[in-house]
Subunit: 228 residues, 2 copies
Amino acid sequence: MNQRAIVLLSGGLDSATVLYHAQAAGDECYALSFDYQQRHRRELHSAQAIAHSAAVHGHEIIPLDLGRWGGSALTQRDLDLPRQRHPAAMTQGIPITYVPARNTIFLSLALAWAEVLGAKRVYLGANALDYSGYPDCREDYLLAMQQVYTLGTKRGREGQPIELAAPLLHLHKGEIIQLGQELGVPWELTWSCYQGEEMACGMCDSCILRREGFRQAGIEDPLPYAGT
Amino acid sequence: MNQRAIVLLSGGLDSATVLYHAQAAGDECYALSFDYQQRHRRELHSAQAIAHSAAVHGHEIIPLDLGRWGGSALTQRDLDLPRQRHPAAMTQGIPITYVPARNTIFLSLALAWAEVLGAKRVYLGANALDYSGYPDCREDYLLAMQQVYTLGTKRGREGQPIELAAPLLHLHKGEIIQLGQELGVPWELTWSCYQGEEMACGMCDSCILRREGFRQAGIEDPLPYAGT
């Protein structure tokens, strides 16, 4: 019998690749997304399209107003996003796009759903190499969260802890795209740009990393970019 | 200058005591409550009254539908609550009132607010003695969550981790009530009963522990109980 799993699905290419990876591994997947007052809803439409394309067994979008407290350029529209930064600059310091405790909040809600659903694991598309500034994407943090998963639930206390899986943690963006390509990820449905315009801007950190990743993988990015 | 702190405030007597304790310690307190589709809203009214009485600097009530997945007698009205259990029976096994990942979810959102607010600590009224079944009220769990607080935030990574404080963890209910009495906690504003009727039922686990606690402390509980 297949095991149930929950996949945190943002609409970006990392979490889409994780979803296709989990499906290929034989897990019965349920997708979880958050409408957290991010700058734009476009990524939620992408998440829905990807979930549909992967034929998940369920997809929940939880409303959660993380913008109420501010503290991030991703939820405060009056803060400017970095533009045209070199990828090397993105590995230094914690970026202004950091959203306080975001992964902890998402992983907590995923844990609740996993326990009720009887899911064996929760998948997260975290990556610690190319955009290493986010504190809640690093391995030591994920190990601490695994402890919370184990000690903070009935399932964990009864010896059946829910596993927190981050299969992309040590891959470069180009490697992630190569993996996703083999798994048949529909890149045209994914959305990476921090802006929510008609076309991806090509200049925010997320666009730059995506384009650099496709270049490294030797694969063509099907998304059009503004001004190119 | 006083330090800011966030207090998770449920409307029950433990979290009310923690709030008065934090105020007495000189912290500038902000209260955080959740409208999580618990069986009744009465405890939220209690939380508001207690926050007002303590003159907190802010009080947020976050809507969060934890009932969508079920899994607990506190969010599923078709599940019966235990009645007339002896306190000794309550320390065995994980009760049906356990809400999957509830403290992890609440503590995650408190962490986000704490980081944005520049708060030094987050207070939780967890108690591991008299109602020891909840996995997310035990010390090993709280230590794991402290690790998440430290590793999963900008503040923690920069050497200023937000502290997770559970000052009632090793107190018996009678001792908590003695402490609260010294601090001037307005017991008449607190609400413990799992039911949300006009009067407290006196027979659910929470009522039984409360009454036993007041008896042990030698203090009169100002709340009336049904049928007594």
